[in-house]
Symmetry: C2
Subunit: 310 residues, 2 copies
């Protein structure tokens, strides 16, 4: 599969006519037909229903049209952005973080960094905890915020705080009637859903390890790729799910939450960076974080979500 074929297919899908599409693409009609055929051959699926005129897309063709359009748009965006970065002499500073750290203190930290270094382009990129380690070593990011503890000779890590975990219940679940903190042991025998399913080790493993250590075994454990899906399944009344307190806001309506009582049922927020960071801003960033602690002591805490069962 090549981008050319996607571009060709988009033209045909838009025009619903091979000949006109070929004109627009400034090629003859037969090569266009052939490229589409090759594409269909590779996929093993018909994209265009040629038995009617004007042409109609098949179900698969309609899906492919959506996706192909987005991919083409994305490559064009990438081309422009790459050009811009290559020509600009501004320094870039890329921060990788897992979704659940994007709330609370992170935006404020970025704001402060932008204010301190107005000449630097600071970017945020969503990225799993384990990906951050390799991304740091390959210098694709300069700073990481994650939740999984790891050891790597070249990467230093700093735990910013421990965040309480909460259990998500479907509305109407018998154990969701109380809003009091809940004991971890009460998960015994309950169906559980964990995330993300890849790459390992992940937050899913942290939760499963915690349960194993305590000798608690849920009824059955399902893995899903992302928290949205996990909470969707919870809302549908199928399972329970353990999430960091900050993630409660993801879905406040149809899911109930109870903080876990156990003192050590927490998930860390870990900042990581290269030991040999050449940009030399780590010390200043630590200083900014100290300032933030001073301004607003429970850093990364959320103002209007009840935390720590207090």
């Amino acid at each position: 599969m090549e981008l050319r074929q996607l571009r060709y297919f988009l033209a045909v899908a838009r025009e619903r006519n091979f000949s006109r599409a070929a004109e627009i693409l400034h090629i003859a009609q037969p090569p266009l037909s052939r490229q589409i055929q090759q594409l269909e051959d590779e996929l093993g699926v018909l994209l265009i229903d040629r038995s009617s005129r004007p042409l109609d897309l098949t179900e698969a063709g309609r899906f492919f049209y959506e996706q192909a359009g987005q991919i083409i748009a994305r490559t064009e965006h990438m081309r422009e952005q790459t050009r811009k970065i290559g020509l600009s002499k501004r320094e870039r500073y890329v921060i990788g973080c897992v979704g659940s750290t994007l709330y609370g203190g992170m935006p404020d930290l970025v704001r402060r960094m932008r204010k301190r270094w107005p000449d630097i382009d600071i970017e945020i990129r969503e990225m799993m905890s384990t990906e951050q380690v390799t991304a740091l070593k390959e210098r694709r990011i300069d700073l990481g915020f994650g939740r999984v503890r790891f050891n790597d000779r070249k990467v230093e890590r700093l735990t910013l705080r421990e965040e309480r975990l909460v259990v998500a219940f479907p509305k109407g679940h018998p154990k969701s009637l109380s809003t009091e903190p809940i004991a971890l042991a009460e998960l015994e025998g309950e169906p559980l859903i964990v995330y993300p399913s890849a790459p390992r080790p992940s937050f899913a493993d942290e939760i499963l390890n915690m349960l194993t250590e305590q000798g608690i075994s849920p009824a059955n454990v399902e893995e899903v790729r992302e928290i949205q899906t996990a909470l969707g399944i919870v809302a549908a009344g199928v399972s329970l799910c353990v999430i960091p307190a900050a993630s409660q806001r993801q879905r406040p309506d149809d899911v109930c939450y109870r903080t876990i009582k156990d003192e050590n049922a927490t998930s860390p927020i870990i900042m990581s960076f290269r030991r040999d960071d050449a940009k030399g801003r780590i010390e200043e960033i630590k200083q900014i974080i100290r300032e933030m602690y001073a301004d607003n002591p429970p850093w990364l805490q959320l103002s209007n979500v009840q935390l720590d069962g207090a």
Copy 2:
């Protein structure tokens, strides 16, 4: 630019060595070098710093690496999904909706639809209001949920409810100290940020029209692509922004909200569908929505966000 070039670049970036990358790709080293050169020529930017060994990526190269990897992953995902859809005999029902309708009643509606028709694959796709009209006509979606009124001979629309609008203030803004409803007229002379900037007409135009009709002119109006950015700028203390009540949850911490007092300062939630829908499920969907109104009268209202200034 072709996918082949992206695949080649990824191999070189991973190996940091042309010869080894060429081996992995099962081609000779010179053609690989040339493809990368052509890519760099087209971009007008160096991606690889060849003056050091092992090779190093340039700043632009690191960005390109991230993006290219995601694009390749996406094309592969598209290939598999297209294949699956083409081979499966299950009916697909695609719903297009703007982000702000994804909260509240929408997930529940989809849940009820899945329950009613377990043999149908129901998908949700995020999509601007105006895109929904063409997507419906081209049968890329079967149902749309949007916020912008439009007229089209082939598409029928149904207003489900009118939702109150709220003003977003940066924390500490003098007008954010009260939580009382605010008059639209108080936006006079304030810097305003609207979204989305494309495609028009959009929610941005609805807001600007409303202000013009009332003879209110903000100090200066900036347009951004999406609500995240808009609220980010608000939080940074630069401007105010008008959003639908449901979108408050997007950023509950560092932004303050006040409902707009004016009775007609509302934004509709509009369901739209093809007049000649062949799947014949529209009437049943309307029935489901009536059931939902019955179960939970203020449909699409949010349980824990203060609405309607009540």
